[in-house]
Symmetry: C2
Subunit: 565 residues, 2 copies
């Protein structure tokens, strides 16, 4: 159980400050995460890792020579925001482009991909490598649906070594993708983690049982089996990871990873059984790692990872690396040259018309109302989310809306018009909320702002903004109606609004009608048959429960009806 914190809401930020204070020779803080404290070679490709916090040594513990150049650090078990990724990658870029490497989770994919698009627009060449090593989360022929777990370390190590060796952007991507394809992992869970401020673990496993196929965000195993002794457990793990052995593969590196509360001595007892089990199958083990490599706070469990090596991958795996939590081979006495970090410019506030400034005030008032409504709904939303997620939807939504309201207020104070006020709110929402809902709301609000203006409000502004936001959310989330996402409420809301306005109903009553449609649609998600979306295998579990994203959408649109007319 996580016991040490000030305000649980500040946990990730406090953690990151303390981490940077503990390892000043390796890292320095930047907005959104950490970058190396030391200069990399000019023209070196930058490897940027990241994800939610709670997984130390992943990801910030891997920043240093021979490994990553920077880490983006989100809230506990939440994806970092798009802005965080942009800020950290911009600071890490040394002119030769950036590889973003992260695990295959919906929120991470959304935010890192959105950041990739923004960075590319800004002229920085960026490629993504999405790690998908967890064999329990999807069958072998649907590799792209698999989650990322401890395979993250092997991919980052090999990408980092390639970048250090002078590979260009495409070259680093090529070996990193080959590494991911050659890597499979299987995890075992005994008890879930207890995030800061929670009263109990995210899941428990009955005495004498174990969960097989854990996730690293407190997701329980995909099946439950009787607890095994060390020898039999080694047999199960080795058998499952070798089932996907490529033809003729012999040499491999192997990771035996503890999730937090399953300790070193237990890992060594298991390793003592894993080695003969692998050797009996003719596997030659190359520079293995046994220890805590990617954790899930104080979760009890472990995972076994195998990466099949060819000569190139083996040389890169064996190359020296120095970071706070992972060190290999001889360290060069690197001079501690402080690495200069570019400032990130604040968004400017353009001139605005009187009319647009007036609407901006209404927008600010609407965000204040939405923030209050979401704060009230926070416990219910959290409960809904704990069925298939990690229970933080209420907290994330309340935090995002609160940040958006504050940012909108500051913009209005500074004389911003409607579009700019909405942009400030959008940035603040996704940046402070994090996670996948933060990314979706940020993307939706930004898309709405794009069809508005700071001068003359366009005709049909409201329905145009709604449709633009819906399109952005649908595209980002790759979701269709029936997937049990926010789209299940957002699409019927928009259609109702458009129909009423086309029938010349005034905006006020049209909005009220549409809100009622959204609320009914959110209720109906309890009976929807879910479709298995990309990297969302857990969504299938929430059948019979209302989708928290659809419910929170209905909460917002219902609350702000008073400001719309």
């Amino acid at each position: 159980m996580t016991k040490i914190f000030n305000d649980p809401a500040d946990f990730a930020g406090d953690m990151l400050s303390g981490f940077a204070r503990a390892f000043p020779g390796f890292v320095q803080r930047v907005p959104g995460g950490v970058v190396r404290a030391t200069q990399a070679a000019p023209g070196k490709v930058a490897v940027v890792v990241g994800g939610g916090s709670g997984h130390y040594p992943a990801f910030a513990g891997w920043v240093g020579p021979g490994l990553a150049d920077a880490a983006v650090v989100g809230y506990v078990f939440s994806s970092p925001s798009t802005q965080q990724v942009v800020a950290v990658a911009t600071a890490a870029d040394a002119g030769a482009g950036v590889v973003l490497s992260y695990g295959n989770y919906a929120g991470d994919v959304l935010n890192f991909e959105a950041a990739r698009a923004q960075l590319t627009d800004a002229g920085i060449p960026v490629r993504s490598v999405v790690v998908s090593d967890d064999l329990a989360s999807a069958p072998r022929d649907e590799r792209s649906l698999r989650r990322g777990t401890a395979g993250d370390l092997v991919v980052v190590k090999i990408a980092g070594a390639a970048a250090e060796a002078g590979y260009d952007l495409e070259g680093v991507v090529r070996v990193a993708e080959r590494t991911n394809a050659a890597t499979v992992s299987l995890g075992i869970a005994f008890e879930g983690p207890t995030p800061p401020g929670s009263r109990g673990p995210l899941f428990t496993v009955r005495d004498g049982r174990m969960g097989v196929g854990l996730g690293i965000h407190g997701e329980p195993g995909v099946s439950e089996e009787p607890l095994l002794g060390a020898r039999e457990l080694a047999g199960l793990l080795v058998g499952r990871v070798l089932a996907e052995r490529p033809d003729g593969a012999r040499r491999a590196t192997v990771l035996l990873n503890g999730m937090g509360a399953t300790k070193y001595e237990e890992l060594f007892v298991l390793w003592n059984e894993v080695v003969p089990a692998l050797e009996a199958e003719g596997v030659e083990i190359v520079e293995p790692e046994v220890g805590e490599l990617i954790t899930s706070l104080d979760m009890a469990g472990l995972s076994l990872t195998i990466t099949w090596l060819d000569d190139e991958l083996e040389a890169l795996w064996g190359a020296p690396a120095q970071s706070p939590a992972y060190r290999k081979g001889p360290a060069e006495a690197a001079p501690l040259t402080p690495r200069p970090v570019p400032e990130i410019a604040e968004r400017a506030i353009p001139e605005a018309s009187e009319a647009s400034r007036h609407v901006a005030k209404l927008v600010h008032a609407a965000f204040e109302t939405a923030a209050a409504a979401l704060a009230e709904a926070e416990p219910e939303l959290g409960e809904l989310d704990s069925v298939a997620g990690n229970g933080d939807h209420g907290r994330v939504m309340a935090r995002g809306a609160r940040a958006a309201a504050t940012a909108a207020g500051r913009a209005v104070e500074a004389g911003a018009g409607t579009a700019t006020t909405l942009l400030f709110a959008a940035d603040a929402w996704s940046d402070r909320a994090g996670g996948s809902s933060g990314a979706l709301w940020g993307a939706g609000l930004r898309a709405a702002a794009r069809v508005l203006s700071d001068t003359d409000p366009p005709a049909n502004a409201v329905q145009a903004a709604c449709r633009s936001a819906l399109d952005a959310v649908t595209a980002y989330g790759n979701a269709r109606v029936g997937d049990k996402t926010v789209v299940d409420a957002f699409l019927p809301f928009t259609e109702s609004l458009e129909a009423d306005l086309a029938a010349e109903l005034p905006l006020g009553p049209a909005w009220v009608n549409a809100s009622a449609v959204a609320a009914r649609a959110a209720e109906a998600t309890a009976s929807l048959s879910p479709r298995l979306g990309r990297a969302r295998p857990l969504a299938a579990r929430s059948l019979g429960h209302r989708d928290p994203g659809a419910v929170s959408f209905a909460v917002v649109v219902t609350a702000i009806a008073e400001h719309v007319a």
Copy 2:
């Protein structure tokens, strides 16, 4: 909760094999522990660390260039046996003598000191450095009563660097003792560990509370206080460790250590508060460490350690070191020269008389009976021991007696006389049992053997052997009647036996009488007022409970009455 093991009794051995398999570049297994896999410089002082297992990275994780030369590894939370220490130190010695460095716990002190005497007799110069940094376990003016906790790492690091730099035996001891004197620690506990095979944690702390002044073997805190936020907790820890700041001391290294289930992120949150709290008091922090340095299986808790540095200690603290779990500075690409390990000779079996061989058979039968009786009493003894100890007394006694009986049987098979049979049993008992009771029973049986013979049984052999054993146990344990130890039963037993035999009662009835006296004395330990012995502050807690050592003594002497007549 420890979940991964085969037979819990084999946990430490399986763990050590797996550890050696994970780090073949650093360590090789020897009987009793591990020594470096690589050659040290000829004429280098050997630094040997050790203690029970369950504390990884302590102690085996610290074997490598710049740190320790070898580690002695006992059972979980039990001191290694005297024989283990002798075997490992003999393998580690490179001709310039050995420094034994270990924490101040009764069992460790007994076994390492006995080993020191044996090694010195064998011509190896050996010095001990006993680490005593835990400020909660005794007041400042009774420093020698304090337990050893995370200060172990600082002492080993500085001793290892001094040895590597060519200091001689006295020189290494001098800096190691200065380091210990300059080091204080304070620990906080949230929940005890659950050793392999146990059904629950060794202690719990109520919700919203924390134990202050933890031990590393699952001893709870010495006081319980309300749980604090990170900032206030940092204030408490810093205030308490600075209370013993030497006049004028400014520069210090600082360790923030997690005990196992209190994770990295929490430690960084706390570190973020510890740094400003120390800096506000003018402390200059030199190369600190934040992480899991010395754990207690899956115990939840942490400790803060401060070591005040002068120029010499600071240079040694900063020197490079490479080991499985602790790496600092540039690593030399050390050639992997296998280090030859000397064989340890088996004890020879001298010629024996017919009469002595006959008595040896009775001794073997008595050990078999004792082993059976202790196996039956194991649960009760474990329960008694869990009041003030870690609950392993029953297991340790049953294991020791079983090993002694088997060894005695082998000796008898090979034609050994009484004294030699007893010596085999003594060695096997202390070697397989480990811990302080193993050391005491080994020492007592060895002392008994010394007054016996393999040829003619001396007059008054039984009472002479009893008195000799009692003297050895009393001397080793530094215990007096009333301390709630085995002596409380052993002394009245011996006095009763001597008095009856002096009054010419036959041995059979005299032994039965003495056994009854021992059993009553063991019962009476429940009402004894305990004296605070050296490094045994927790004994004070068992007031109102029978001492498990006294009870197990009574079990043995009562059971073997049939073989004595």
